[in-house]
């Protein structure tokens, strides 16, 4: 680098300064004799810095140092050659193609070139190949060398590949090409994949006497497409796809000539053939000083603006509001005013900016309502003793299979290009991920696990947000005085009910047929009342043993889960109803009732019968609560004793015993006649 810029700065100083200015340093390696190699990571927008000269320009700007005259070249004429004909068939894919013929002598590169190549991670091979690699590292123009004797017809044609055409590239791999790809061909066949890799057939070898140097500019998008389709990434393709320097092709050949002379490796014969049908015009940008100040928030003195941009290679002409800038062709990333302002800013120094605070002109709009709603759900579930889990969102197809039933016949959404089969399907439900989390905790000795997750479920129709809870182990208190109780269906149902209650939606449950839940211990959750009554909003149940087994849990464990669709619940929420209800002014009367009924009679039916019977009674029924359910001694088989607490209360008067009794009797009568209930 010191050949190109006059600075005393040490390698460490250069590395540190350029790291702030946009070039992350991967490593600094000290070589013998005071030399060093700095390995920079170059961002995709600065292909011009994929060369020593490009970085030297940055060093010159950063240290306000002068650049030297640059690499030595041998001036060459351009024109037609009698040794080689070039046909540029595809100008759009290859705007410029320069070649020259050289007679070469067998040689190895001198030590200084070999060691520089090695320091840059390139293996020295032979003088000709090394020179092309050296020119690429030095000035950033990828070059290729063909053995002229192996080019049929002494011609090069830059054309699209024919459908089905093949080539064996330098890495000895046979590749199938398509008509979108650009190739460099001789009279008969493809000899190189343009901008990506040369062909084996015309590779330069120890026997080569005459070489054709290619120094070209290929269309970035085309090289990128070709490189991807062939899954072939090279130094050359990396450079071309980021944007090469369309002004450098002939210069590169002249540099090559100078190096060949210096190494005694041969000489260029004849002129440089430069196919450049439409000379590219440099980009011109108007740069306003007011705009620099507005974007950066600091006024940069004109002298600094000019020094920085000129040092980077731009030509500036002053105008009243600022400057007209002409962008050098190697800066493919400078297209508009903001790009120039970034150049000024990063070399002026972001550390010279003040820290100001943007004033608020208007009040902030309200946040996404889902955020507050999710916090509420979290509060309810953490209060219920469950901790929050976060799982990936994708699982393996097999794990998702039992849950596909939730998609009403559609298949789960798959990841088209997963990195691993473990993550190849998007979850239609939060349950499988939570079961995995339960399994992880059980495997590490934790018996009582209560977890919930709020997250996205994926279906072909779209995403929906849900919450799921998983419980296993002790659902009661963990205390020396007792109270331990294995979690069951009703713990999961309770959690779901509390969440729905907090969200303002009354729910009811109905037996379901979810295949991933245990038959007889599974239910669908539905909206109980209002405009959306009957809408499915979730599920509750005990996880089926096959699912537990597949996730590494003992089959006999009981893991109960509930899952709710938060988007549907939000839609089903009744509007209004915020106003406080006045406290009852009159006392309530409680009557307990125990009845024996068939054990298959759902509690919901009993409740419905009671409410219907009480509706026409004299004492309004304020509440029904089930407080006991008893099977066993004294109860006939197939029957169950259910104990209920009935609360009667009027908002207008104190109820008399007679009124309460009348309602009570109506209720008992209805239960007897409707369900064959026997009062105990």
């Amino acid at each position: 680098m010191r050949e190109f810029v006059e600075t005393d700065a040490s390698a460490e100083q250069i590395a540190e300064t350029l790291a702030i200015r946009g070039f992350e340093v991967a490593s600094i390696e000290r070589l013998g004799g005071g030399d060093a190699v700095i390995d920079f990571e170059i961002t995709a927008n600065r292909p011009d810095c994929l060369s020593v000269v490009g970085l030297a320009r940055e060093v010159a700007t950063a240290f306000d140092a002068r650049m030297t005259a640059g690499p030595e070249t041998q001036p060459l004429p351009t024109g037609r050659s009698d040794r080689l004909t070039v046909h540029l068939d595809e100008e759009a894919l290859c705007p410029r193609y320069a070649t020259a013929v050289a007679e070469v002598t067998l040689a190895a590169s001198p030590a200084w070139m070999a060691s520089r190549l090695q320091a840059a991670g390139v293996r020295p091979i032979s003088a000709i190949v090394d020179i092309t690699n050296y020119v690429n590292l030095e000035i950033g123009q990828p070059m290729h060398a063909f053995d002229l004797a192996r080019l049929a017809g002494a011609e090069l044609r830059i054309r699209r590949a024919k459908p089905g055409e093949t080539i064996r590239t330098l890495d000895a791999v046979d590749r199938k090409l398509d008509a979108e790809m650009l190739v460099i061909a001789d009279r008969d066949r493809a000899q190189a994949v343009a901008g990506v890799m040369g062909g084996a057939a015309s590779e330069v070898s120890a026997a080569t006497k005459t070489v054709v140097f290619e120094s070209a500019y290929f269309n970035a998008a085309s090289v990128r497409r070709t490189s991807r389709k062939l899954a072939l990434k090279t130094e050359a393709s990396a450079r071309f796809e980021r944007g090469a320097d369309i002004s450098a092709q002939v210069f590169a050949i002249e540099r090559t000539a100078a190096l060949m002379a210096a190494l005694g490796a041969g000489r260029i014969v004849g002129p440089v053939i430069d196919c450049y049908p439409h000379e590219r015009q440099p980009v011109r940008i108007a740069l306003r000083r007011e705009r620099i100040a507005r974007l950066l928030g600091v006024t940069v003195p004109d002298a600094d603006v000019e020094r920085i941009l000129r040092s980077l290679g731009l030509a500036l002409t002053p105008m009243p509001a600022g400057w007209h800038a002409t962008v050098p062709l190697f800066r493919v990333d400078l297209l508009r005013e903001a790009d120039l302002i970034e150049e000024v800013g990063r070399h002026y120094g972001f550390d010279r900016l003040d820290a100001t605070f943007p004033a608020m002109r208007e009040p902030a709009p309200p946040p996404d309502p889902r955020i507050a709603r999710d916090h509420l759900v979290r509060r309810v579930l953490t209060a219920a003793g469950a901790s929050e889990a976060v799982t990936f969102g994708f699982l393996e197809a097999k794990a998702v299979e039992p849950f596909a039933a939730l998609l009403d016949g559609a298949s789960p959404v798959a990841v088209a290009n997963p990195l691993s089969a473990k993550f190849d399907t998007l979850r239609p439900s939060l349950v499988p991920g939570l079961v995995d989390a339960v399994a992880h905790n059980r495997r590490h000795g934790r018996r009582d696990v209560r977890l919930f997750e709020i997250g996205t479920r994926f279906a072909p129709g779209g995403e929906s947000r849900g919450v799921a809870v998983a419980l296993t182990g002790n659902a009661g208190v963990d205390h020396w005085s007792g109270g331990a109780r294995d979690a069951d269906f009703f713990d999961a149902k309770g959690a779901a009910a509390q969440v729905c209650d907090a969200l303002g939606v009354a729910i009811r449950c109905e037996p379901s047929d979810h295949p991933f839940l245990v038959a007889g211990q599974r239910a669908a959750v539905l909206v109980a009342a209002g405009a959306h009554a009957g809408t499915r909003v979730g599920l509750v149940g005990a996880v089926a043993p096959e699912v537990l087994d597949a996730r590494g849990l003992p089959r006999q464990d009981r893991v109960v889960v509930a899952e709710l669709d938060l988007d549907r619940l939000a839609a089903a929420r009744a509007e209004g109803g915020d106003a406080v209800r006045p406290l009852p002014r009159y006392p309530f009367v409680v009557r307990d009732l125990s009845i024996v009924v068939d054990d298959s009679l759902p509690a919901e039916i009993i409740r419905g019968t009671i409410q219907a019977a009480a509706a026409d009674g004299e004492a309004p029924l304020a509440a029904i609560s089930f407080f006991d359910r008893y099977l066993g001694t004294g109860i006939p088989a197939g029957r169950v004793s259910v104990s209920l607490r009935l609360t009667f209360q009027s908002l207008e008067r104190t109820l008399t015993d007679a009124e309460v009794q009348q309602s009570f009797d109506r209720i008992v009568a209805a239960l007897k006649s409707g369900h064959g209930a026997v009062q105990r």
């Binding site: 497409r225 974007l295 903001a338 970034e342 820290a355 100001t356 943007p358 990841v415 290009n417």
Partner: protein, 344 residues
């Protein structure tokens, strides 16, 4: 007499239990066979001229011992365990309280800090289309900048949201929501966009195929890079350390110009160098920059009139820095021994 009283007191003190104490009492004060009782017998059978002396002695003895016994009883009552007494050192009955996930804790904290600076949180879809995720952010298909983020694609695609752009990929950043928000609103804009993002990355100590980000966006007339500096400094001081210093390293993102990487001075060693900052004295805190004019053009804002800044960071990264978590996988294993270490 003094000897008798002293003997009584000694024996009381030696009594191991309430029963033993009563036995002692009975031995001295009991109706039969006690010290006082024998003195009373002696009094009954004493000659008349000695009755007065013996009687006085016996009574004094009885009263003295009685008094000692009353005192003893009073003391025992005062120190006895009352009925229903409990061992107060036994554990109480704790209704279990669940913990919020650390990613929620950190995200909420960040939303609150930015909330105080006037930022509104907004959320967007996790499945996105190419336009919202890339093209609108100045990352057209043919540009190598796309390689900076490896994308996971899905099949079948999901329907478009508000337009007919089919959603074919899992979003790689929450910037897509910023685009949607700008499409739906006019400046001034001041939002944070948190949420899940996905990359085609292996799961290892510092990477995950699914993680979360939060991005801040401000757009108005006259917003500058200096405003970005001030906003992020205020955030860093509240989130990490009052003494925080910031540094911008110039960088490249297709959707910002200028672009920078944000560094925060290490709050553990204050910039001297330590294990936390890998000896550099600085901790990386995400990428930022001024919104690229092409992005404004994509959402229909006039880049002449409006400027803006954006900043984004992984929430896992902030959580790992804040709580010194050294393996990102801990966030997704959901081991309760980990989760229960975070605030409820």
């Amino acid at each position: 007499m003094a000897a008798q009283v002293a003997a009584f007191e000694r024996e009381l003190a030696a009594a191991a239990s309430a029963r033993d104490a009563h036995t002692v009492r009975d031995r001295f004060l009991g109706r039969k066979n006690s010290v006082v009782a024998s003195w009373m017998q002696l009094l009954a059978s004493a000659p008349p001229d000695q009755k007065k002396t013996i009687g006085r002695y016996a009574n004094e003895l009885k009263q003295a011992i009685d008094a000692r016994w009353s005192a003893y009883e009073a003391q025992a009552r005062a120190t006895a365990r009352p009925a229903g007494a409990v061992d107060v050192t036994l554990p109480g009955r704790c209704a279990p309280i669940g913990h919020r996930h650390p990613l929620t804790v950190v995200r909420t904290q960040m939303e609150e800090i930015f909330g105080r600076m006037g930022f509104t949180p907004v959320e967007g879809p996790e499945v996105e289309d190419e336009w919202h995720c890339f093209d609108a952010l100045n990352m057209p298909d043919e540009h190598p900048a796309r390689d900076m983020q490896d994308t996971l694609y899905i099949e079948p695609p999901l329907p478009g949201l508000g337009d007919d752009r089919r959603r074919t990929l899992l979003r790689t950043h929450t910037s897509s929501m910023q685009i949607r928000y700008m499409q739906a609103h006019t400046p001034p804009i001041r939002i944070v966009a948190p949420g899940r993002v996905f990359r085609r990355d292996d799961l290892d100590v510092t990477h995950s195929p699914a993680f979360s980000q939060i991005e801040a966006l401000v757009v108005d007339e006259g917003i500058s890079l200096a405003d970005l500096k001030g906003t992020l400094l205020a955030f860093a001081r509240q989130m990490f350390s009052e003494r925080a210093r910031l540094r911008f390293r110039a960088s490249f993102f297709p959707y910002t110009e200028p672009s920078a990487e944000l560094d925060l001075s290490c709050w553990q060693c204050d910039g001297a160098g330590c294990a936390m900052c890998k000896k550099t004295g600085w901790i990386e805190l995400g990428g930022c920059g001024m919104v690229h004019p092409a992005v404004f053009e994509a959402v229909g804002y006039d880049p002449e009139r409006y400027t803006g800044f954006a900043w984004g960071i992984g929430i896992e990264r902030v959580a790992m820095l804040r709580y010194q978590v050294d393996d990102i996988r801990l966030f997704y294993e959901n081991d309760l021994r980990f989760l229960e270490q975070f605030p409820i």
